[in-house]
Each structure stands twice: as C-alpha cells, then as structure tokens.
C-alpha cells in the first residue's frame, strides 16, 4: 500500500515548483524539507523521492537529480542536533544534505522509501507492500482506519496563558459557597465601617456647632449618635471577624489542594522531567510558592476586594452628599491608578527574576549538602562558600534593582494622598465660605478620604503581591501543565495475565541531541534470562529504562505479550515488573514497610517469606527491633549487601513476571555477592529476566547474552557461542580475566 498521497502535504512554497518539475505522472513518495545548507547555514531546501529518482533543490546548487540504482544507498548520520543524509555509491559519495533534527522523521521516511524502491530495483519485484499500517513517527501500529497516531499527536509547544491567577479558580470551585458567604459578610462589614464618618455630620452640625454658637447640647441626639457609632463599630467587628475566618479557612484549603495536586502530578511525570530539573527548585515550587499563593488569597486579595468595595461605597456616599466636593476629592484617583499601571510591568518581571535567582541559591544548597563529603575531602569549603556568596550577591543585585523602583512607589502614593487632602481642605473651606456646605460635611469628607486614601496606599501594594503570586502560580502551573513524556493512554488496553514475552521493534532513543539507542530489535521469550553486556555508556541502562517505560522510545515500539506498552495503563504495566537497582533505595520507615513497598497490603507471612527467599530474614532478625527496625533516609545502619537483599525481597513480594536487575551486585564485595547471588536465583526462577552486570561471571546462568555497543546490539548468543566467535564478548571477557589474574598475583605478592 502506498502512503496516502504525500504531495498534498508538501509545503506550500514548493508545491508549484515540484509540480512543474515532475509533471502529474510521477507521484512524490516522500519528501524532506532541508532547513540547513551544506555549510550549516540556516537555509531552505527540499529533498524528495519518486519511484524513479531522488531530487534535491538546494540554495547552492539549485535543482539536481539522481536516478535510483541498486548500488546507491542513503546513509543517515546525526551529531549534535544536525542530521545528514549522504547519497553514496560503493566508490564515492555523490551528494549530502543537512538538516536539523526537527526534520528527522521526514528524513527517516525518505530513507525508508529509498530502501523500498532500490530493493524493488534489485529484486525486480514491485516495491514491497507494507505488512501493516505503522505510524511514520514511532513505528507503532496505527489503529485501523486512522491516519494519526494517538501516541505521537501529543507534543505540546504552546505557552500557558498569562492570566495564570484566574486558573486558580479550578481549585477554588469546590469552596464556592463558603467564598460566596465570605463575600456577603465582607460587604456587610465594609458597609458598617462607613457608618461612623457619616454620623460625624449630624454630630458636628447639630450638636457641636450649635453649642459653640451658644445653644445647650442636645443630649438625646448626642447619645443617639454615640450609640450609633458604637453599634457600627461592634457590627463591623463581628462581621469582619466572621469573614476573615471563613475566607482564611477557604484560602488555606485552596492552597493545600494546589500543593497536593502539584505533587500528585509531579509523581506522574517521567524520569526525563526529573532528570532535567533540580531538586531545590522543585522543592521551592511546591513548598514556598503554594504558601505564597495562600497568603495572597487570604490576606492581600481579601484586603483588595474590601478596599474596592469601600471605595465604591464611599464614592456613592460622597456624591449623594455633595457632588462638587466629591469630584475634587476623587480627582487624584486616576493619577494613582495610572501610576500603579506603569510600575506594574517592571515590578512583575523583577519579581519573576527574584524567584529564579532564589531558586539558584537553593540549588547550590541542594548541590553541596548531599555532596558534602566530596567538598570536605577536596578541602573546597571556601570555594563552595564563594559560589554561594556569588549567587547571593546576584540575588542581592536583582533585589536592589527592583527596590529602586519599589521604594519610590510607596512614598509617591503617600505624597499624592497628602496633596489630595490639601485640595479637599482648600476647596471645602471655599465652599463653606459660600455657604454651599456645612462644616459637618467637610469633616465627614475629610474623615472619609482619610480612610480612602490610606486604602489606596495599601491597594497599591496589591500590584506587587499579585505579581508575586502570579509568578508563583505560573511556576506551579508550569509543573501542572507539563504533559508527561510518558503519557497515560487515553483508552488503556487491559493487560491479561502476563506471560512475559518482550519484543522490541526497531527502537531508537534520543537523550537531548545524543542518540543513545539506535534501531534496536530484540525478542525475549517468556521465562528467558537475558544478560545485557557492554561497556559503560553502551546503552544498557537506557534500554532497561525504556522497557520499564521510565522513558518512551523516540522511534519504534516495545511490546509485552504483543501489546504496545504505551497502550497499557502505566501502573498496570509496572505491576508486572520487578526492579533491583545498583543503589537500593530504602525509604524512611520500618524494614517490613520497605519490603512491602510495592504491595502495601501484604501480610506479615508474605513479607517474611519474601525476606527468607531473599536471604534477608536472618540478618533482619539480628537487628534489635527485627522487622520493625527503622531504616533511615538512605538505609543508614545497613550494609550495601543487606540493603540489596531488602530490595530483592521487595521485588520478590510483588511476584513480577518480568524482572530487571541493573547491576544488582556490583556495589558489594565478592563474598556478599555470593549470598546475593543465591537470593537472586530464587528471584529469577520462572520469570523473564533482564540482568545487567559488569562482572560477566554473574551472568553465567543467562540463556542468552546480548552484547551492546554504542546503542546497538553487536552480538547475541550464550556464553560458549560468543566465546567461540571471538568477537566483542570475547574481548570483554578476556579483559576481565586479565584484570582478575592481575588482582590475584598482586594479592599474592602483598
């Protein structure tokens, strides 16, 4: 079957050109848009293949073409993010094209087509029909009747929107009724605080000024007004208390939910994500950023809304009392609003910057404290202090810069407040002199705007705290928005009882711009033990990580019992995998808890059975608290071999069909290794096992040995076969033998 007419998908700018060159009769089978020229300058070109020829259009050479012949091959090389296709004959290179890895998949398509066509030329048969519809990107089979691969249609390159804070609504929604009642209480309490200045009007005009003019004080009225003042104060106190309490509770819950969801999401992200992030930074995001948002919601946002309400209500009262004076009073408001607006941008970028710099400081801590032994061993305390000092100085410099703007901001608002009051005094006195208003009205106005302007001052602070909170929210949503590069399938396939066969089909994996695994295919039978052998850096651990689905393959697919592992729910899949690592990690808790980590509901008998099988039972019993002994952060107090046996028991307990051992015995001495080895034999029985070992002697039991070099399989076979072949395995074996002998003779001499 031919691919669905790719001509239509040709980039617009090439379509006309290609059409004139090819005519209608020669369909384009595959194409690659070149984004670099041969001198590695960014430039545009096109490479395309038809059934008869390979055509290229490059800026240097214009259109060129090469007929397809059986001797010609296309070679694909990539290095540091740049790919290269070479058209070669047995004696020479005819041409080459370069492109960035952005175009890599198109390049692979071209090669595939090229191989199909040249093979047809060699055999004289029509081009091979593809046996099944596979996705061009990942080579996974496509669901029938669909062109787009569900696995590949997920790469996201969009930035999150800037209205980050509003996205917090998702977390506020469950508390909307509490929020609503909180706002109602807030309106009530704000209204209550506005009563006292209003009462100063009659108090001034009807009580004090008549008294100054010689009339006796109207005691009844006076008492009435004083009672009113007292009542208003009491009301605003109780309403204010209730509102603050309710809203503080809600905001604390919102931020707690935010924190938990972020952590939950973080746990689901792939190892790739954790590889690229620094611990200090992630800790800061989940810890202090969510706290900052909580403070913002419960304190600053609350105050701000109260202030807005107060300003709105005050405006109404002022206008209903005297609109001329009201206009003059409110005049400075737009000026202040404008000031707030201009400073806003500068402050926001500044605060974002402070956050990043702060992350830098914590990163140094997260680097040095775990590595303190190295620091001390090399006596580099001074240098580390210097590094910290520099980061801190950077922090200081950034803070200084923003403080320059910030410090000017507040006093200016205060100055404007004072000026505003001055204007009101002047205009009020003039109005009183013309008998437009009474002294009481002016006093009330002054009392109102006294509050009003001080609120403006605090409102101006909302700019910075909102920006801080928004920056924090952005950093949290950065985590929440991150789509795991190991995504859960939309419609997961349920995995029946797993037999344990693993099939890798033309898989490739790229870490950054380094390709770590290249075009690797391997079939593993159920119950088979495979030993992975190779120099360090040959891709053994990466292969294991791919099988565990800690990362997803960049090309090709891995199948377990014939099911693509990407179509199975991750937890469903991992349940079938037992992993024993070189550095066994024990969590803080009892030994029993650690053994039962993968199966928390395991019975005590199960735990003990697993420990016995892992040869851990006896040493555990020797500990003062037996299975209830607490093991520390990194399992302090236990030797490497003991920790390893606990982790073997952990893997045994979940009874996995597939077992993966990544250098499980290389961190311990030979004596301990023997003990672990017999524990491992219990573990291996009847399971599909993939073992990586540096010491080849530990893999003697393997059914097949797979020798890897630079991301490719170079040899497969059992020990005797590979020794007979005298290839890569033989060389590795000889090298180790020599080492062992050397150690022996040295030992004997000593």
């Amino acid at each position: 079957m031919l691919p669905a007419s790719p001509d239509n998908s040709l980039p617009e700018r090439w379509r006309a050109d290609v059409a004139t060159r090819l005519g209608g009769a020669e369909p384009v089978l595959a194409w690659l848009e070149l984004d670099l020229d041969t001198h590695l300058q960014f430039n545009h070109g096109l490479l395309l293949i038809t059934a008869q020829r390979l055509l290229a259009c490059t800026p240097d050479a214009g259109w060129q073409e090469w007929p397809l012949t059986p001797q010609r091959t296309l070679r694909h090389i990539d290095h540091a993010g740049v790919g290269c296709l070479e058209l070669v004959e047995p004696t020479q290179r005819l041409a080459y094209w370069r492109f960035t890895l952005t175009q890599n998949l198109a390049a692979l398509r071209v090669i595939k087509e090229f191989e199909r066509q040249t093979e047809a030329l060699t055999t004289g048969q029509p081009p091979a029909v593809r046996d099944e519809e596979v996705c061009a990107t990942c080579k996974a089979p496509l669901p029938p009747g669909e062109d787009e691969c569900p696995i590949c249609a997920r790469e996201l390159h969009e930035a999150p929107s800037t209205w980050t804070l509003f996205r917090l609504w998702r977390f506020a929604k469950p508390y909307r009724w509490q929020l609503f009642s909180g706002f109602a209480l807030m309106t009530g309490s704000t209204a209550a605080t506005l009563v006292p200045p209003y009462l100063t009007m009659p108090l001034m005009d009807k009580v004090l000024i008549p008294y100054q003019n010689g009339q006796p004080i109207n005691t009844a009225l006076e008492l009435q007004l004083l009672a009113g003042l007292f009542g208003a104060a009491l009301l605003s106190w109780s309403l204010g208390w209730a509102k603050t309490y309710i809203l503080a509770l809600v905001s604390e819950r919102i931020s707690a939910d935010l924190r938990t969801s972020t952590y939950e999401h973080l746990m689901k992200l792939s190892l790739e994500y954790f590889g690229g992030k620094r611990t200090g930074d992630l800790m800061a995001r989940i810890g202090s950023e969510s706290d900052r948002i909580s403070v913002f919601l419960s304190l600053h946002a609350l105050d701000f809304i109260t202030d807005v309400l107060m300003i709105a209500m005050t405006t109404v009262i002022l206008f209903s009392t005297n609109h001329w004076l009201a206009i003059v009073t409110l005049l400075p408001l737009p000026i202040i609003a404008w000031m707030i607006h201009t400073v806003r941008d500068r402050l926001r970028t500044g605060f974002e910057k402070i956050d990043r710099v702060w992350g830098e400081v914590t990163n140094i801590l997260a680097d040095t404290i775990p590595g303190i032994r190295v620091v001390k061993a090399f006596a580099q305390e001074k240098r580390e202090t210097q590094r910290f000092r520099e980061a801190n100085a950077h922090n200081l410099a950034v803070n200084d810069k923003i403080n320059k703007t910030w410090s000017l901001f507040s006093p200016t608002v205060t100055l404007l407040t004072e000026l505003g009051l001055l204007v009101v005094w002047a205009f009020g006195i003039w109005q009183i002199s013309r008998n437009d208003i009474t002294v009481g009205v002016l006093t009330a106005f002054l009392a109102y705007i006294g509050r009003f302007y001080t609120r403006l001052d605090s409102m101006s602070r909302i700019v910075s705290v909102t920006q801080k909170a928004a920056a924090g929210a952005k950093r949290i949503f950065d985590i929440l928005d991150h789509v795991s590069s190991v995504p859960e399938p939309l419609k997961p396939v349920t995995l029946p009882r797993v037999q344990g066969s693993i099939q890798m089909r033309e898989i490739g994996f790229r870490y950054g711009n380094r390709s770590v695994i290249r075009n690797l295919s391997l079939d593993i039978q159920p119950g088979e033990m495979i030993g992975l052998v190779g120099h360090s850096g040959s891709g053994k651990s990466t292969l294991v990580n791919l099988i565990c689905r800690f990362y997803d393959v960049s090309e090709g697919a891995i199948f377990i019992d014939g099911v693509d592992i990407r179509s199975v729910a991750i937890s469903d899949f991992r349940r079938n995998i037992g992993l024993v690592l070189q550095e066994p990690f024990l969590f803080f808790g009892t030994i029993a808890e650690n053994i039962a980590y993968g199966k928390p509901d395991a019975s005590r008998a199960e735990i003990i059975a697993a420990a016995r099988a892992a040869h851990a039972h006896e040493f555990i019993l020797r500990l003062p608290q037996g299975y209830d002994s607490i093991v520390g952060e990194r399992g302090q107090g236990l030797s490497g071999g003991e920790r390893q046996r606990i982790s073997i028991a952990r893997a045994l307990l979940i009874d996995p069909r597939i077992l993966i051992m990544d250098e499980a015995t290389s961190a311990v001495d030979t004596e301990t290794e023997k003990e672990i080895q017999s524990a491992l034999e219990n573990l291996v029985k009847g399971r599909t096992t993939i073992a990586i070992a540096h010491r080849l002697s530990t893999l003697r039991k393997a059914d097949r040995l797979v020798v890897m070099d630079r991301g490719e399989i170079v040899e497969v076979g059992d020990h005797d076969e590979l020794m007979a072949r005298e290839g890569a395995y033989w060389r590795l074996y000889q090298a180790q033998l020599r080492n062992a002998e050397q150690n022996l003779t040295e030992g004997a001499e000593a």
Binding site: A80, G81, V82, E86, T162, K474, G512, N513
Partner: protein, 157 residues
C-alpha cells in the same frame, strides 16, 4: 599517541578524513573533535577513529602545516553546529514553552525553548540555550546584544 608532526591526512571520495599514522596504519573515517569547543576552540583537537578511540592529538591548531590545518578546519566546520545568536527578533511568550525567532551567525532561525532551565550559564558569561530538539544556540556575551534583545532575554534569566 600520535602527535601533529606525524600526521598524514587525506580526504577520501566519501568526503571522510583518513589518517595514516607514524606506524603506517591508515585509519579511515576519522573525526576531528574539539576538546573545549567553547572555552578554547583552537586548542586541543583530537582525531577519533570510527570506533571511538583517539588516534591523534593536536595541541594547537595553529601549529599545523597549512594544508593539514585546512583539512581539519573543513572537517570541523562540517561537524560543528552551534549557532551564535546575534539578535532576538521576538519571543512568542515569556512563559515557557516559548518560540523564539532569532538572528544567528548562520542565518535566521526559530526554535522552541522548553523551559528556563534550558538556558545555561557557562563560565565567562556565555549562555548556552538548548532547544526542544537538543540543538544548542550560544550567546557569547550579553553585553554585545542590542537593547531589545537584552530586554527580551532578561525575562528568562
């Protein structure tokens, strides 16, 4: 290890370098690699065979005879790709992932920055920016950029 004086280099019809060392052994398809591509590009260049072993070491590129130097420089030029950003034309957003369109010493390009942590500071004030596909862009010095570029970049640092 072979030193520069014993080098006999040639370019074969596949465009690859082949090296004949002092013992008369010919290594085909050797690759020239700079040891310090950023901090000291002209010093310390290794010729590495196809199976990844170092077959020759050149302390100083300048110390080689002109013909050999030209061959090695050409080989390096074919392999090295680290565009130097000379100007930032624009960024799609200040939140990552963000698409940057830039002017580089290799022409104009655009790329996707996945996260702020993909911008790394190297000693000497050099910034290294890796895009979503692992291509590395370099900024030699912040001060040499124009105001607009600096302002944009500042939002990510």
């Amino acid at each position: 290890m072979n030193t520069a004086s014993a080098l006999s280099l040639a370019r074969d019809s596949f465009g690859r370098l082949s090296l004949t060392d002092a013992q008369g052994v010919t290594h085909e398809g050797v690759v020239a690699v700079r040891a310090h591509p950023i901090s000291a590009p002209e010093e310390g260049i290794a010729l590495v065979s196809q199976d990844g072993h170092e077959v020759a070491w050149i302390d100083q590129l300048a110390s080689l005879p002109a013909a050999q130097r030209a061959l090695i420089e050409a080989a390096l030029a074919e392999r090295e790709f680290m565009p130097e950003i000379t100007r930032l034309k624009g960024v799609s957003s200040f939140a990552t992932p963000s698409t940057w369109s830039v002017e580089t010493n290799r022409g104009s390009a655009s790329f996707v920055l996945k996260g702020e942590e993909d911008i790394r500071r190297l000693p000497g004030g050099i910034l290294l920016i890796s895009d979503a596909h692992g291509i590395q862009f370099m900024i030699r010095s912040l001060a040499a950029l124009d105001r607009h570029s600096r302002k944009l970049l500042d939002r990510f640092l």
